[in-house]
Symmetry: none
Subunit: 263 residues, 2 copies
């Protein structure tokens, strides 16, 4: 199997992983299935050091990137997918079976970076983590024992991506070709904007909501999480991101200039 461009676009993001064996296991599964880019967010320091220095730890692990926040870890990705075992919690996100989710991810991987997030062994992804996700996938485990080992969950998700890409490999390369030609015609503006631009828009929107008193002065992190999700659900096209940012900045400027002139 050669390294496919699609698979090379995946960023496996481990958030607050505590067990070094799980980081190592994730890296091994990535290597097995042809993925290269591991990102760890705020890992339990000792765990990460141990995993990196383990016998047989791969180049993949040595090259893993460490981030302080999920925000930074997904900045260059145009699609962010979270993993969860939970079904009954009031989810604010669409929850897709991994079989189907993998197919959607592969489509996006053909054109650019996609992040797949895995939470900590104990608590999974927090609501704040989830607020960075476009949607979630779940593995079909039983109600009676829903929660998978982290390394095994990573293996199953990556297998599903490879499984799909193999079955569809010819299909995809054809698709990539047609997208390439679309790109050369400058028609790729409908794809989702990368997260760094979406977060920029979100951040100006926060300022607007504060300036308009749509938010109470005391509005905290939970409110921000809600609006962050709201913005992600829009799937702002990359070709429109600058326009929306411009509109929001104009709004902010206007509100502030109005306030300055208050008696």
């Amino acid at each position: 199997m050669t390294v496919s461009l699609e698979l090379d676009h995946l960023r496996v993001v481990l958030v607050r992983t505590r067990n070094p064996l799980n980081i190592g296991a994730a890296a091994r599964a990535m290597s097995n299935f042809g993925f290269h880019h591991l990102r760890v967010v705020n890992p339990y320091e000792v765990a990460f050091r141990q995993a990196r220095s383990a016998v047989g730890a791969s180049a993949l692990l040595a090259n893993a990137e460490v981030y302080g926040t999920v925000d930074e870890a997904v900045a260059d990705c145009s699609l962010v997918v979270g993993t969860t075992a939970v079904r009954n919690r009031e989810l604010h996100h669409q929850l897709r079976p991994i079989e189907y989710g993998a197919r959607l991810m592969l489509k996006q991987l053909a054109s650019g970076p996609v992040a797949l997030l895995f939470g900590s062994e104990k608590a999974g992804l927090s609501n704040a983590d989830l607020s960075h996700c476009h949607w979630l996938v779940r593995i079909p485990t039983r109600e009676e024992n829903i929660s998978m080992n982290l390394g095994q969950a990573v293996a199953v998700c990556l297998y599903e991506l490879v499984r799909d890409s193999q079955i569809k490999s010819t299909h995809l390369s054809e698709k990539a070709k047609s997208q390439k030609s679309r790109k050369s015609q400058g028609l790729d503006s409908h794809q989702s904007a990368p997260m760094v631009e979406v977060e920029r828009i979100t951040s100006v929107l926060f300022d607007v909501l504060r300036a308009t008193r749509y938010w109470n002065p005391g509005a905290g992190a939970a409110t921000e999480v809600k609006v962050r999700r709201l913005v992600r659900r829009l799937n702002i096209p990359v070709g429109d991101a600058e326009v929306w940012l411009g509109i929001l900045r104009q709004i902010l400027w206007k509100i502030r200039s109005g306030e300055k002139s208050l008696p």
Copy 2:
């Protein structure tokens, strides 16, 4: 999900496993995916004792059957399938991709016990072990790093069995059910908002763009058309339409109240 008879017919057979963590991981994946019958052949004695006495070790592990030989461990099975990472060795067995192999196994599982064998971490299944197998399956790992962690290999194989059986039966009905209940709870909020709501949002946005002077006073129909398209490209979810409308109205109110107070 109820225990399906098919899945209950599978015997997961670990041959000469050395690492207790791997025995535990195999048991956990079995429990996740609804399999109950673990058999261990000639395990490294200490490893098995450790795995069994581990905190959280399951009933599944306590009920695991220990055999001295592969022969005895597969005696009641009508189909015996081996797992291997190897591709180039002179195989005397048919080697099937796991996606296809799982489908054949499911057919057999409908009528009686099937064994799925996993070899030791270091050497896999020996030629003697393989001689008990009808055929072999392999997971599509890369040539460059072909060998999977045992616990992860078990997870992927069992996932593939469940994936197949679910797509064909329980899963489908579950999906239908969850969709039905989502609908009855009015949670289909991810669908795009109807055009009447989108146009309401668009119209308030027009007012905002005029009020902020983002638009020149003379801006005409062509400019409106552009922004109308811009809004439609967002595919605003029906569940979010009211929130966006509220935000825009608040912005408009704030700008106008600022203007009124101008000297």
